[in-house]
Subunit: 497 residues, 2 copies
Amino acid sequence: MASCLISRQLSLCVQKNLWLSSAGCRYVSKAAAKTQVEYDYDGPLMKTTVPGPRSQVIKTKRVCLQNVGAVNFFCNYEDSRGNYLVDVDGNRMLDIYTQISSIPIGYNHPALLKLMTNPNNLSTFVNRPALGILPPENFPEKITESLLSIAPSGMTRVQTMACGSCSNENAFKSIFIWYRNKERGHNTPSEEELTSCMTNQGPGCPDLSILSFMGGFHGRTLGCLATTHSKVIHKLDIPSFDWPVAPFPRLKYPLEEFSRENAQEEARCLEEVEDLIVKWRQKGKPVAGIVIEPIQSEGGDNHASPDFFRNLRNISRKHGCAFHVDEVQTGGGCTGKFWAHEHWGMDDPAEVVSFSKKLLTGGYYQKDELQPYRIFNTWMGDPSKNLFLVEVLNVIRRENLLEEVARSGKALLNGLYELQAQYPGLLSRARGQGTFCAIDVRDAATRDRLLLQARDKGVLLGGCGDQSIRFRPALVFKEYHVHIFLNIFNDVLAQYK
Amino acid sequence: MASCLISRQLSLCVQKNLWLSSAGCRYVSKAAAKTQVEYDYDGPLMKTTVPGPRSQVIKTKRVCLQNVGAVNFFCNYEDSRGNYLVDVDGNRMLDIYTQISSIPIGYNHPALLKLMTNPNNLSTFVNRPALGILPPENFPEKITESLLSIAPSGMTRVQTMACGSCSNENAFKSIFIWYRNKERGHNTPSEEELTSCMTNQGPGCPDLSILSFMGGFHGRTLGCLATTHSKVIHKLDIPSFDWPVAPFPRLKYPLEEFSRENAQEEARCLEEVEDLIVKWRQKGKPVAGIVIEPIQSEGGDNHASPDFFRNLRNISRKHGCAFHVDEVQTGGGCTGKFWAHEHWGMDDPAEVVSFSKKLLTGGYYQKDELQPYRIFNTWMGDPSKNLFLVEVLNVIRRENLLEEVARSGKALLNGLYELQAQYPGLLSRARGQGTFCAIDVRDAATRDRLLLQARDKGVLLGGCGDQSIRFRPALVFKEYHVHIFLNIFNDVLAQYK
């Protein structure tokens, strides 16, 4: 792995904590000089294992709060910079998980800090409005500069929401209302509909369904959860809807070796989708919409071909179901295009595209025919998040971050290919688009151990699916950072030789 | 109405726009000198009807955004202060609706502005963490200073969430998990449960239910919506769960005249609750929890006696259902106590208390026996909102705002009593707790007209239920402001003589 020769200095710095000053260590890297992020640190610096003693102390004090068990460690966000998350023990880690893929341009980006010092912005933070009824004067302008400037093809309407789950819940509602209006053929509900809906009964509350995919994740509130099928722990004990669940293609890697098998697998899944649509219509629970992620993220970074999505889109049209692309995790540039569905090359990709995470605000785009009326709540988003988003988009454009992502992603995927060639019994199925990459580990226990070992050496990664590692760096993750990661990961893997 | 004599100057100021300078008009009021809010304006100032020409222009530009139809007008939040909301046409209105009851201590409170200028707080705004796994160092401290310092009796655990709907959705899930663990008697689900839940089927996704009340409002996402029964427009066309809906007492006013009838009405509703619990158990959809607002807010400001709630709490205990008090609108001090359920005088009021709006962050408290495990999402709230909440609570304590609310509330309710005595065919059922007051108007059309007429004279109010006006001022709404409101409202009503 020529490009990943371990620099002696880096190796020492990472493995033998505290050797170097807090100013950090320097690497010898070809890519470094050209692409380094100015406000970034120049490498990980580990002082303790993670969680360190200070994190442990805080954790024991926190017994009365929330779910302490899930806390990894406590963070020092003031000292975190760019691609580096600093913890309360002074450990500085290269962050390739970025708060579950929700930090777009790294920590404490100067453009965002500057925005905070502008006195004109203060009142946006201090006075959160009921955006649906009393928006601030600059709201249309901020939405035009931000969300509408990156609207998916064919979409001119956007609705902001507070989080990903609320975005999908309300998108589903929008789809149901659209579907019933189509069925009705007019806008006047019957007296029976008006009365019955007040006690949750039909015909006012109709037996409509959303078709989703095994392995998909669309959130954890009750409506979203009925379309989430990635882990038992999310779903067990929670009442749900009898909605159809289709298989998502399980592709074989390397793709070029299995093109025929994979095409067959995708055809099988599409056929099953059509069968389910027919079956649920016969059951009296017509499919009003199909919801899908461009890459199943929580479910294990499962990819499908652009052809699969184009065909699925056609099936949705044929059966009069809305097509809802959930870009909560894939949106925002990490695949090398702003929206992952752009890789499908379609002018009319969907009726609904939902987002959150890297977009900082939740929400969804929709086609004109899905009317926004009747979608409402108190806050309807948060204008302070829109302020940040305008700056994030400026940075993405100014610094050509989508191109950078494509470049870093290529280096990352090539590095993963090399690693899986080196460790064939341990690693497999390296895959990705942009820096949105993943690799499988031989089993869940080894995957989990690898994650902790990498963390103790200064690299934060996440798991997904049963046995995958997912890579979710910020958009400012450069080729330079890829090599830092590969060096450290190579070092971790050496123990498995 | 002795206490509400219209000051000649105020009347001129309000009715004949532009007569006075933008510094505003001065009132003669006994209460003014003592309680005036320092950073507040000293009265409404109307320059145009509302929405004014500038709002209209912005509205026409906004066709591609969200639901433009619902926008009342556009606001100038920079110039808004204390109890006064300023619009883009320079109209300054006494705000007794406060962004659907979500502004705790008025606009641009100096304490909140000061917090924004503290450089130590910047990174909390700029780096939103995944709070469930990587909390900031000061998170336990901020939660202890804020949410835990106001925890309802018997509750030591709190979970933050992004909004009211997410709070209720996750509280319901917590209740379902608790109920199933009780039913199971151990923590090991069967193989059949593990498999079936992945496709939304029983026994893994059990047929459990939440009992709610006709007229209740608990949010609009699919789980919450199944417990919301206030308006057709929220529910029509959206699939729902077959969950039981009990009648909420419809009290007759004045309460002292109808004490016997009202007690009977409450007994009837409680009996129906028990019948429904039995019936739904027989149906195979056991009631895992009962959700209720201390005052049904969206549904028309429907009150019930402390006895009703105490008896309902006992019924929940008797049948092993969790009792979930939804304080999203009633919480935060507006009833004169921090939580409305404190008026019931119980040591063990509930298993769950949810909140949002005036608390600035969503979330819910729960008793220890409801374990927090398995409740998770990316953001799990927003620490920047907790920062603000700490300051809001400091202001509430320092300025004795709960006492002020009790005082203003008494003046407001007395004023409403006098008005309904003066306009018996027009106004009725004046009711309230603290400043959380309401009054009924003879019909919906007249109510809506009254709201617009008051707005054009510089007072913002909201409607609720079929024909009620609801009062939802901030906690800094003093007796002084009550008199400004009553003067203006009296003036509006005079047209109906």
